[in-house]
Amino acid sequence: MKTAREWKKYFPVFLMLLLAVIPAFVTGNYYRTVCCQAMLYAIVALGLNFIVGLSGLMTLGTAAIYGLGSYVSALFCVKLGWNPWAALIPVLISGWLIGKGLGYPSLRVQGVYLSLATIGFNEIVRNLLTNLEWTGSGTGIRNIPVYEIGGFAFDTQIRSYYLIYAVLLLFIVIAWKIVNSRWGRAFKAVKDNPDALEVCGINIANVKITAFTLSAIFAVVAGAMYAHFNRYITPATYTTDLSISFVVMLIIGGLGNFWGCIYGAYIVAFLPQLLRPIGLTYKLIYAVIIMLLVVFFPNGIFHDIRRYLGLHRVLKKGGEEG
C-alpha cells in the first residue's frame, strides 16, 4: 500500500491523462471550445505564476500581452500572408520586447502602484487596438488562417483541442524546469527576502526582468494560439477584466502553487459557463462567488479546505515525523 505522499508523485501524470480524455466525455462544440479556452488560460497562468505567484509582484496587464500576441500573429498572417507557424517568430520577439519593456518600470514602482501602472498599460493597448486603422479598429481581424502540418489543418474543435493540449504539455514541462531551476529559486527569493538575494550576489533587477520576460513569452504564445483557434479577434476580448481573471486563477489555485495555475484556469473558464443557465443575474452571481472565494480561501481552494478540515496539519506532522 503506497502512502499519499508516494501517490502524489504521479499527480501530474493523472492530471494530464485526465485532460487528454476530457474530449471523450465533453461532447458538443461549445464546451470543447471552453476547454480549449481553459487550456490557453492555463498557459498564461503558468507564465504569470513567475511574476505574481513566485516573485510576488502585482501585475494586472496580462490581457494586453495576450492580446498583443494575438494581434501580432494575426496581422502577420492576414496582412503579410505568413504561415501561422512562421508568425510565431515575430510573436516570440514581441513577447521578449514587451517583457523587457514592462520589466523596467516594475523596478521603479512597487506594490499596488505596479498594478495600477499595468492596468494603465492594458488600457493604452486596448485603446490603440480599438482606434488604429491597421489593426482593424473596433471590428478586429477576421478570417485568420489555422495552424497546419503537412496539409493536416487544425480546423475543428477536437483537432484544436489536441494541438493546444500539446502546447500546454510543452509549456508545463518548460515551466516546471524553470520553477525548479536557479531562476525559479531566485524568483521565490525576491518575494521572501530581496536583501538576502543581493547579498548572495544576484541582481534583483535582472531577476525581475527575467520573470516579466518569461511570463510575457508564455502569454504571447497563448495569445497567438487563441487567434488561430478562434479565427476572429476583437479588442473587446482583451479588457482589464481578463487581466483580473488571470490573477484570480492564480489566487484560486493558490499563489505560487504550480498545479494550482491549471485548475484555477479551469475553474475561472468554466464557472461563468455553468452559471449561464441562471439567466440575467449570472454575471452578478459569478462576481459574488469569486469575491467570496478570494476573501475566504486566500491561499487557494484546496489548500484552505484542507486547512479548515484540519487535514493540512496532519500532513505536516507526518512530514515532520518522516
Binding site: V112, S115, L128, I244, L255, T281, I290, M291
Partner: protein, 306 residues
C-alpha cells in the same frame, strides 16, 4: 483662437480638478489602511445612478435634495464596505484585497444593469447651459465642477488640520502601530476614511453626470487618469495630487487638439510612464531636484567668493 484656447484651458482645469479629486480619494484610503480601492470607478458610477436613476427619476426629488440624499447614502454604503471588506482584509496579502475590491466593482457594475437598466441616463436641467465671455463658450457644468472641487478640497484640508478625527487619520497614515498605542482606534479611522472617500465618489458621480451621462463606463477613464494624476503629482500629499491633476487635465486637453483624437486617452498614461521612469516622486521630485540644484549653485558661488 484666443477663445478656443481659453475654452480648452477652462475645461482642462475642470477635468484636472476631477482627476485631482479622484487622486485625493485614492490617497485617503491608501493612507488609512495601505490598500487601494480598485472599485471606486464603479462607486462613482453608483453615485451617478443613485442620483439620476433613484432620487430624481424614481423619487421625483429636486436636484439639490437628490444630491444631498445621494451623498448620505453613499456614506452609509462606505461604512458598510469598510466593515465587510477593508477591515478584515487590511492584514492580508495586498493582492487579495486588490482582487476583492475589483470583484466588488464588478458586483456593483452587474447590479447597476439589473436595477437601472442598460440605457444611459441623463439628468434633465442639471448644470446645463453655457457661459459666454471673452469670445469663449464654456459649459456651465465645467465651471460648477471647479467651484465644487475647490470647496471639497478646502473642507478636507480643514478636516485634517482642525478636527480631532482628522488629526487622528493623519497619525494613522504616518504610523499605524504608534497611533494604535496612543489610543487612536485604527478601525474607526478606516471607517471614517471610507465614508469620506465614498462621499467624494458620490460628489464626483453627481457633477460628472451631465458630461459623461450616467452609464456603466462613465468613470473608467477618470478613475485611471486620477491615478495618473496622483503619480504625476507625487503620491501621498493633497497639494501634489491637485497639481498633478491640473497639469494632466490641461496637457491632455491641448494634446486632444494638436494630436489625432486617437491618442487623447493615451497621453495621460504616456505622461505617467515618463514620470515613473524619470521622476518617480512626480512633480514633488522635480521640485526637490530644482531646489537641490539651486542650493548647489548657491554653495558653489559661496565657495568661489571665499
Amino acid at each position: 483662437m484666443q477663445g478656443i484656447l481659453l475654452q480648452l484651458i477652462v475645461s482642462g482645469i475642470a477635468m484636472g480638478f476631477v482627476y485631482a479629486l479622484v487622486a485625493v480619494e485614492y490617497t485617503l484610503i491608501w493612507n488609512a489602511c495601505g490598500l487601494l480601492n480598485f472599485s471606486h470607478e464603479k462607486i462613482i458610477m453608483l453615485g451617478g445612478y443613485v442620483f439620476v436613476g433613484t432620487c430624481i427619476t424614481a423619487l421625483g426629488m429636486s436636484n439639490i435634495m437628490s444630491a444631498i440624499l445621494t451623498i448620505i447614502l453613499l456614506g452609509i454604503f462606505g461604512a458598510l464596505i469598510a466593515v465587510i471588506i477593508f477591515i478584515p482584509l487590511r492584514n492580508q496579502t495586498r493582492l487579495i484585497a486588490v482582487v476583492a475590491t475589483v470583484m466588488l466593482g464588478q458586483i456593483l457594475n452587474e447590479a447597476a444593469v439589473l436595477v437601472w437598466g442598460p440605457v444611459a441616463l441623463m439628468p434633465k436641467n442639471f448644470l446645463s447651459g453655457v457661459f459666454t465671455f471673452m469670445g469663449a463658450t464654456v459649459a456651465k457644468s465645467y465651471v460648477y465642477i471647479i467651484i465644487v472641487a475647490v470647496i471639497i478640497i478646502a473642507l478636507l484640508e480643514l478636516f485634517f488640520k482642525k478636527t480631532k478625527p482628522g488629526k487622528g487619520m493623519t497619525c494613522v497614515s504616518i504610523n499605524k502601530t504608534a497611533s494604535a498605542l496612543m489610543g487612536i482606534n485604527v478601525k474607526v479611522s478606516i471607517v471614517i476614511t471610507l465614508i469620506l472617500s465614498f462621499m467624494i465618489c458620490g460628489v464626483l458621480g453627481i457633477i460628472t453626470a451631465p458630461i459623461f451621462t450616467v452609464k456603466q463606463q462613465m468613470a473608467t477613464m477618470i478613475a485611471l487618469k486620477g491615478f495618473c494624476a496622483g503619480v504625476i503629482g507625487g503620491f501621498g500629499s493633497l497639494p501634489a495630487a491637485i497639481a498633478g491633476g491640473l497639469v494632466l487635465g490641461i496637457v491632455e486637453n491641448i494634446a486632444g487638439v494638436v494630436l489625432p483624437a486617437v491618442f487623447k486617452d493615451a497621453v495621460a498614461f504616456a505622461l505617467m510612464i515618463l514620470f515613473m521612469l524619470f521622476s518617480p516622486k512626480g512633480l514633488v521630485g522635480v521640485r526637490d531636484h530644482v531646489r537641490n540644484l539651486q542650493e548647489n549653485r548657491k554653495q558653489k558661488k559661496g565657495k568661489v567668493n571665499i
